[in-house]
């Protein structure tokens, strides 16, 4: 089974993790002004890259969400980052 590096717990089995979508998928604010297109893009559209991926994951054992860069073809994991670390690629709204 795959090993994913939780930034807080270290390498753990894939079954302890939950996929949380693309990193950088910011929630559009202002429900009155957000268009159908903007909302759909946020809620449903996905990058789904073949190859290098930048993703948000939750380690269910410790409850922390984090960002992970990995390859969806070779399944190699590059690196993981606590939210707010790295170069700001995560989904933080503020």
């Amino acid at each position: 089974m795959q090993l994913f590096p939780c930034p807080f717990c270290g390498p753990r089995s894939e079954s302890e993790f939950h996929f949380g979508g693309d990193a950088g998928n910011h929630r559009p604010e202002g429900f009155r002004t957000v268009t159908d297109g903007e909302w759909t893009a946020y809620l449903y559209e996905r990058n789904n890259p073949r190859g290098a991926a930048n993703e948000i994951w939750m380690h269910m054992t410790c409850g922390e969400i984090f960002r992970m860069e990995r390859d969806t073809v070779h399944h190699r994991v590059a690196q993981s980052f606590a939210l707010g670390e790295g170069d700001g690629h995560d989904g933080m709204a503020y």
Partner: protein
């Protein structure tokens, strides 16, 4: 040259050392221009080409496939066909497919080995029986065959099933669809390919799309590893690779690609004569005509294009199978593999024009594309031929997401809520 398949031609060729058979399909060079181009040589793509030629009499078409035809999910699935869905839109879609499957062998002059041996979706509690009743009623009202089975009915069709009240997931009954069953996946692909080729369709293998030709805001064709190919309309039918091509075309899709594993046991004499699915233990299983148990289960929940899964899911699926059929402990696993499934938020497919005019989509079938091949082909053919939706495909347009009109089968039928 012998073209037609029948017991007579088989006999005749037997006398001639099998030397007179016509090729199943040609290996033509791609032309620079066609009326319609179909990207993807799997079941849906091949069926689309066939129906374009046969129903709409449009024959100047090409299918381009980056690998070998039928080599993607069509060659990797667990061969189940059924139309036991909840919403009327889904029933219309999968019934269209099942009805076409029922005549397909003759239609294509290819034995697709449709075996309508039935499918039972088990219910493991009173609450699940209520959901089963809800589904059976929906199916009957929406125009397909369904029965609510009790425990005795289940025992009758699944004599080896563990029905002990002490089982972790005791069996109360389930949803039965008698017309469901299996069909030989390779035969479906090859049958459509041969029939389409006969009608003049060019099937071009080992031809990968590198980019789209976009002019005047419209898709005019593609640039491939074998040159440029232009067309009035283009269909994209590439399942797990849909997002990859969509990116090249400048838009995104509500799709995530995952590995879906399946496996077969060593072949044994027949002991399982129907298809069974358990939402409790997890797997679905049938026994192929060669004698192998064909087993599948849940996705590996890690987005992937790798066409391979890992042990945790396999172990869960196998343990679920042995929980249902303790006597299968005597069997060995012979081979395992995986496909790339394109999963949408409501687990319903996407049919319709893409955000790039001139490019039409047939994707998002997720774990359930094989059963729908004849309908997917018919509906995309209609779209490509007329530029408009067939009544059956309209609800599955990409715009359903922005309209909030998802067709969420799992939600509607009570599974995984």
């Amino acid at each position: 040259m012998t073209r037609h398949y029948s017991v007579f031609s088989l006999f005749k060729e037997g006398l001639r050392g099998q030397k007179g058979w016509q090729q199943a399909w040609r290996s033509p060079q791609p032309k620079p221009r066609y009326d319609i181009l179909i990207i993807g040589g799997g079941g849906h793509g091949l069926a689309t080409a066939y129906y374009l030629a046969k129903t709409h009499n449009i024959r100047n078409i090409a299918i381009i496939e980056k690998g070998w035809l039928g080599g993607g999910n069509t060659g990797r699935n667990t061969t189940v066909v059924r139309s036991n869905y909840f919403f009327p839109e889904s029933t219309a879609l999968y019934e269209m497919a099942l009805k076409l499957y029922e005549g397909l062998g003759r239609d294509l002059n290819y034995n697709i080995m449709l075996s309508q041996r039935g499918i039972i979706t088990l219910a493991h509690s009173e609450a699940e029986m209520e959901m089963a009743a809800r589904t059976v009623n929906a199916m009957q009202i929406n125009g397909t065959d369904a029965e609510l089975f009790g425990i005795d009915d289940v025992r009758r069709v699944l004599p080896l099933l563990n029905v002990s009240p002490q089982a972790r997931y005791p069996v109360f009954g389930g949803v039965w669809q008698g017309r469901a069953g299996t069909a030989r996946h390779d035969a479906v692909a090859w049958g459509y390919a041969r029939a389409a080729d006969r009608l003049g369709v060019d099937i071009i293998q080992s031809c990968e799309v590198e980019d789209f030709l976009i002019e005047g805001g419209r898709c005019r064709g593609v640039r491939t590893s074998r040159g440029e190919i232009r067309a009035e309309r283009t269909g994209m039918v590439v399942a797990g690779h849909s997002s990859d091509l969509a990116t090249k075309a400048g838009f995104r899709l509500p799709i995530t690609s995952y590995s879906l594993q399946a496996c077969v046991s060593e072949p044994i004499k027949p002991v399982l004569d129907t298809v069974v699915l358990s939402p409790g233990t997890g797997p679905y299983a049938s026994q192929s005509d060669k004698g192998e148990m064909v087993v599948g289960g849940a996705l590996d929940r890690v987005p992937s294009y790798g066409q391979r899964g890992n042990l945790p899911v396999l172990e869960e699926v196998v343990s679920g199978l042995l929980e249902m059929f303790p006597s299968f402990r005597q069997l060995r696993l012979m081979r395992q593999w995986a496909g790339i499934v394109d999963v949408t938020p409501d687990s319903s497919p996407i049919l319709g024009e893409s955000p790039l005019p001139g490019l039409f989509l047939n994707c998002g079938w997720g774990t359930g594309g094989f059963k729908a091949i004849p309908a997917g082909g018919t509906l995309l053919a209609h779209l490509l031929a007329t530029g408009k939706h067939h009544d059956v495909s309209r609800p599955f347009d990409l715009d359903r997401f922005s309209r909030g009109r998802l067709i969420d089968e799992a939600a509607g039928s009570g599974i995984a809520h």
